[in-house]
Symmetry: C2
Subunit: 204 residues, 2 copies
DNA sequence: CTGCAATCTTGCACATCATGCAACTTCTGG
DNA sequence: CCAGAAGTTGCATGATGTGCAAGATTGCAG
């Protein structure tokens, strides 16, 4: 990493903006928070905010692109004789493990607020769904590299099934106001359902 | 239907706006088209456009809510002894069949342009993904009504797997520039993959 | 230390989307 | 024909986002 004064200040500003945004969004709602307020809270001009983040919601999402690397790397590093479905499960497991550790610090309440925002606010929901879609796309390209028997459409279908099931289960869990524990369990259950196939209904 | 002069004019204006929007979006791109241009092309004021549609992208999407009813109704009308997976397949089949007939008239070129816009333009992509997510949510609630052995999270997982696989396969097909025929085939292949399960790789 | 170049920050003008409000027009039903 | 309902319009206003140029800060070579 570049540890020059410039780079440090830059990261500081970015971080201050992201923190201020998360705080204001959770305190008073996404729509009722203006970029001017975020900039003021981080003590920079509005124009500087837009120098760091292209849009308002990027202030919230912009730091997440790190997590998206994990499942792609896991797929690229497929182990010898590892089945495709096991590989996909592992990709998700490792991403979830990292999210719990790295997401936003280890503060559960902050993470919960973040998840609540994303699953609640239409604009953020749309943005998150799109990010997830882009991630799936990259995973599909990575998968065909290590699974030559699959074409891109087939790879996309398999990944889409796993990701779609996990996503839907997680959102539903959140909508039902379930606990943290149940939320992560729902995610895993979604992955499992997709791997087993919709034709094989879950055991009791 | 109310066939008063008022209602007819209202529908006319709506239709004119939607048509103008689709034409302008495909001709010159979504971002480079302003709401003022759309309103002018439909011969109404900008304010009237926003009376009919809450946002710019609703001018394109606003008429689609009809198609979303179909899979929910299919699920609600589950046949005796029909398996859940067969039911989900049928829900998607019937929606696709309707889309081909009803989508935007039967003009293939127009439909292709529409699909191209939705899969290409970030803002529209996000919006479409969100719509799809909402649809899945409603399907899950419908499913637990007719499949009492499932809870909401399990139902969401199954539907998410099918919808996610179909969506991912379709987007990938579009990204690869495949033909109409291949696009619909990819959709079906996605559904099939999800039903069979990611653990059971596709046969040759 | 000095000066120059690269980079970051800022203010300002401007385009666009979106909303509230009030006046005006058109349609409906009696 | 008339009174009220519904639709249309212009205007003011607020918010997001971009281009540009001037100013401040940092990095680096001499």
């Amino acid at each position: 990493m570049d540890d020059s004064l410039r780079e440090r200040k830059k990261r500081q500003t970015r971080q201050a903006l992201a923190a201020a945004a998360l705080r204001l969004f959770t305190e008073q709602g996404y729509e009722r928070t203006t970029v001017a307020q975020i900039a003021a809270a981080a003590d920079v001009s509005v124009r500087t905010l837009f120098n760091h983040f292209p849009t308002k919601d990027d202030v919230l999402f912009g730091n997440d692109e790190h997590a998206a690397e994990i499942p792609v790397r896991v797929i690229a590093g497929r182990r010898p004789r590892e089945s495709v479905s096991a590989l996909l499960v592992r990709a998700y497991e490792e991403m979830l493990a990292d999210n719990r550790v790295n997401g936003l610090g280890t503060d559960t309440a902050v993470l919960a607020g973040y998840v609540r925002l994303v699953t609640t606010v239409p604009a953020l929901q749309a943005r998150a769904l799109r990010s997830n879609h882009q991630l799936q796309r990259r995973m599909a390209y990575a998968l065909v590299e290590v699974a030559p028997e699959l074409d891109l459409v087939g790879a996309a279908a398999m990944i889409g099934a796993v990701a779609g099931a996990a996503q839907a289960a997680a959102f539903m869990s959140m909508e039902l106001g379930q606990s943290d524990r149940q939320f992560w369990a729902a995610l895993r259950r979604g992955v499992e359902t997709a791997v087993r196939g919709a034709a094989h209904p879950p055991r009791r």
